[in-house]
């Protein structure tokens, strides 16, 4: 059977889908590719010209790194693959400038980007507060990176899956309803003359229902279907993250095939 994706719910920042007919290894590599291999932009280098605020340069640089940047993967190269050879050029990095005086709360929208389309994804994040007489002048340089290098480059925050089980109730069932009582996730219900499965997606495979059943009439089997929950940071749309992750997986698999052929 071919692998298939069935989307359950989708919004700008969260998606829930079922990945069907795949091995646990493929499901996990998909998760890991989304988290650690899809590149995004993040501030990585900051030049401070003036900083008389209450926060140290290092703290501010770290806060800037945390801000998600709207990324256009067509526009930028990874720095180590760029024509400039990793030195830094408009093809692989972008700077954000800031020159403000207090009293003022500095928001992420106050930064002036080199490219008006590449901006901080969420514009009302407070970065710091400047008080009377304090000044901040800096240039923050963002580049592409992957989650493998630093968590700030991750395009997703939550990216997790679980196995969707298959719950089977045999004819030995005496309708004692102990399993319904025991289930912490409210998966089972009494449907007329037998126990029915109400919400299989909610099952956490805790196996409490099996422990409590004296007739051994209930079985919870693992299947090759996985329920994914993915949340975006705003750097990339979720569909792009998923597509890019699969592209990366494919190129890695092809590379592996080539290596194996060379050995033979």
């Amino acid at each position: 059977m071919k692998p298939k994706i069935e989307i359950l719910e989708e919004s700008d920042f969260k998606i829930r889908f079922i990945l069907k007919n795949v091995s646990p290894a493929l499901a996990n590599s998909f998760r890991r590719a989304m988290k650690a291999e899809v590149p995004t932009l993040a501030v990585d280098y900051v030049d401070f010209y003036v900083n008389s605020s209450y926060l140290y340069d290092e703290i501010l640089a770290h806060r800037l790194g945390m801000l998600p940047i709207k990324t256009d993967l067509e526009k930028f190269n990874m720095q180590n693959e760029c024509v400039c050879g990793g030195e830094g050029c408009p093809n692989c990095q972008i700077s954000f400038r800031l020159n403000v005086e207090g009293p003022k709360v500095v928001y992420s929208e106050d930064f002036i980007s080199d490219d008006p389309e590449i901006v901080f994804a969420i514009d009302n994040i407070p970065v710091l507060e400047l008080f009377e007489g304090q000044q901040l002048m800096l240039e923050a340089v963002a580049r592409l990176g992957t989650g493998r290098e630093h968590a700030k480059f991750q395009p997703v925050s939550v990216c997790a899956y679980k196995i969707i089980p298959e719950i089977e109730i045999t004819e030995d069932c005496t309708l004692c309803k102990d399993c319904i009582e025991a289930c912490p996730r409210d998966v089972l219900e009494a449907g007329g003359d037998k126990i029915a499965v109400k919400d299989v997606l909610n099952c956490s495979l805790c196996m409490e229902c099996i422990k409590v059943c004296e007739q051994n009439a209930i079985k919870v089997n693992e299947t090759n279907n996985f329920l994914f929950t993915v949340e975006a940071t705003g750097a990339l749309p979720l569909r792009v993250v998923m597509r890019k992750a699969l592209e990366i997986l494919r190129s890695k698999a092809e590379e592996m095939n080539k290596i194996i052929e060379e050995i033979q």
Partner: protein, 76 residues
């Protein structure tokens, strides 16, 4: 007890420490809801903060910047 506190949003963490979800832009809204008389639970539910890792970021925030600013101008 839920006592709404006046806390500065300007040094609230941008990301949740544990899961990395972006929460920096929600703290001002959270405070507004507390001021309206809502409990922390109601406010966080309305903002869509589900996990307890992110929820503790809101309810345990104490602004260092605000403390320091009390002495602004007193020294150099």
């Amino acid at each position: 007890m839920d006592v709404p506190r006046e806390e500065s949003a300007s040094d609230f963490p941008i990301r949740c420490f544990s899961c990395g979800s972006v929460i920096g832009h929600l703290y001002e809204e959270y405070q507004k809801k507390l001021k309206e008389g809502k409990s922390s639970k109601e406010a966080l539910d309305e903002l869509g903060i589900e996990r307890y890792c992110c929820r503790r970021m809101f309810i345990t925030h104490k602004s260092v910047l605000k403390e320091l600013s009390r002495f602004h101008g007193a020294v150099g």
